[in-house]
Symmetry: C2
Subunit: 464 residues, 2 copies
Amino acid sequence: MFSDESLSTDVLRKLRSVVGDEHVRTDPGVLEAYARDATPLFRAYPQAIVEPDDAPQIAEIVRIAAEHRLPVIPRGSGTNLCAATSAQQGGIVLTTARMRRIEEIAPAELLARVQPGVTTAALAKAAGEHGLFYPPDPGSHTVSTIGGNIATCAGGLRGLKYGVTRNYVLGLTAVLGTGEIVATGGRLWKDVAGYDLTRLLTGSEGTLGIITEATVALLPAPETTGTGLAYFTDLEAAGRAVTEIIARGVLPATLEFLDRRCMDAVDAYAHLGLHATAGAMLLFGDDGGDDQVAASLTRMRQACLDSGALSVEIGGVAEAEPLLAARRCTLPALSRLGSLTILEDASVPRPRLAEMVARIDDIARRHDIVIATFGHAGDGNLHPTCVLPSAEDTEAIERAERAFGEIFRTAIALGGTITGEHGVGAAKLPYLAERLGPEQTALLRRIKSAFDPAGVLNPGKLGS
Amino acid sequence: MFSDESLSTDVLRKLRSVVGDEHVRTDPGVLEAYARDATPLFRAYPQAIVEPDDAPQIAEIVRIAAEHRLPVIPRGSGTNLCAATSAQQGGIVLTTARMRRIEEIAPAELLARVQPGVTTAALAKAAGEHGLFYPPDPGSHTVSTIGGNIATCAGGLRGLKYGVTRNYVLGLTAVLGTGEIVATGGRLWKDVAGYDLTRLLTGSEGTLGIITEATVALLPAPETTGTGLAYFTDLEAAGRAVTEIIARGVLPATLEFLDRRCMDAVDAYAHLGLHATAGAMLLFGDDGGDDQVAASLTRMRQACLDSGALSVEIGGVAEAEPLLAARRCTLPALSRLGSLTILEDASVPRPRLAEMVARIDDIARRHDIVIATFGHAGDGNLHPTCVLPSAEDTEAIERAERAFGEIFRTAIALGGTITGEHGVGAAKLPYLAERLGPEQTALLRRIKSAFDPAGVLNPGKLGS
């Protein structure tokens, strides 16, 4: 359907008349920079980068694209890990880099209204200045954008207690594939007038509409935060502790795990003096009032000890940040071990976490690759990460890809899913039909057509 | 499109072969019972009532209906307040009355899997037996079904702190208008594999699919609950207190208001000794650990006093239930005042609550009707309720309908919506296009077609 040639003078002229000459980029260096996002092994060149300023410009760009049958791929900071912003079929990458305005923080309504290019961290900071709090905190929060967070329904470290991006999106303005601008939802926490387009656009990876503004809910900032660290002989014991924590009525803000390989990598990177022989660690934390946090940490500590923890340390606010930083550095720490790092994402029901990690280890062994696994134990959301010595070793890359295929199928077999929070993109589309079945796959296509009849919005991804 | 004649012998024979003779009902007494739900002024006779037992039977019924172009209207307990289960175009009312099984409570996964006919209260009770808690609690929770709650995205008294039904639906099995059975989502709190069909079906009022099973999230039950009661000279002062509570970082489980008319009605009904002259009351409550609840109530008490409350009383667990029961009896208390009670639903941004109530009072005066207003102050969600002396006075009914039309338009003008939690149904469809605009209304129709190409699922409602 789509061409990979240079854009015609006609198209370029039309695009330039919408956003200005300097905001249509076609120089090879720029196209190269947008040829991939954070997904290894996926590289595809767009034909142009356009940098619009507002929703009417985006509507115009989409109309031009629809007229000329050109893909439009919306992109925030390009931190996506499943090639969701990859220009697989060429076309125009539409970046929200110029749309970084926080339009409004409304404390009495507990909400913020922002342009899509605002970073997660910038929103969190602006909310913090009003004593408020934006809970979703994906790993890339310092650079990732709210538009991208919403397009992928980003998660983070606080999912168990606070939910994911979906839970905070109140209203969206979006440009459909028809070039129409719709405003869904609004400023209200309760609004059932019509189908829930706000949540449908959330996680649709730019295939149904391009988000041009978002209204998101904020919460009062918790008074304090506390964190604890528990070591276990193996992940099975850590998994028992997770079950025990939940069974004792604690729904903590943080409940993260690292396997031994991740611990080694993190300790070599950040010199935290982690336990030298434990098979797994659990990082747990909570927030709220002082007494509440203390009570919660004490209960989690006891649940860990009763589940056979080797040791448990509890820290106050001062220790919380370094510990969470250690967890956040797992990916860069692992990346140092090789030349190519493939970070993946799968979820299983919480009680099957340890079983899933054991199955991952077995799959890695059989395919003769190294996979380290960490993730959000409270959500059953794992990030198996393969580190390969060379980015050129195509044979090893193929083994890794076969291993991940088995991992996704295993997740499905255990009642889980192929992605908890990273998304489907181009990378996981081959597994989506296995997860959803043929009827639902066909339904996704019909929904896609309802929003984007010409199929110009991020083709080759969800709904394809 | 649809016929209002009796069903043909052929159709009846087919339906009977699916569910058994005794579960296809066409006797006039039964049709009469299903000719209306809890919405006054809407009466429409279905041609048959069918009582299926499982998803494959429902799929068969939908296929028969599609073949014969007959509407299928799914129905739980019929507590809907916007004629969402009304057979406006005849057809088959499909009741979930026989599907009342709680399939599973899985404490380690914090979830329940239920058939759609299970009542909200039955689920809450079953969860409670495991120390767990299902937060959504619509006014009709003792009789309303989970299927109906999901179909309408029901709210309740705990929306501010806990969110609404949407926040608790993890996975659904549903029969599409094609007769296909799809399973969306699953048992996971984080799953972004595909468009968010789970949330799209939630609130779709049976127009996109018929829910045959639901997996819902549960939370650990809070340790304790506390409630307080504050009286104010007028609703403006109560509104200031709401803003002040939020500004002090409290996001309480309960924050309900009653205007003077509601207070009079409730006191006459339940003899609670409410303040005799206050213009408005605020019922506030919170749950959690003992210290946490005490701290929260103290802060809310102070926020009320600082906002000019006439008096504030704080109660413990013992007082919480009677106070919440008083709030819950507002509707029956108001209903005693006349022969026809029209309970409505609108939302505005929280800071505009008092302004909205003042506008409602003005609208009621101008149309010479009595409207009492209560609702969820924390959510900006109001229930203006009109009580008419006679159900036969068509002239007064018309005045009430004109008044509500103005109320919905005023809510939209204040940045609000035509329904916060009751839904659109047949009753509010005329206002939906005003809220959504023509592009989004057309988009809703296209989405409807993607799920239900023959248009047999609850026609004349959302997506029509």
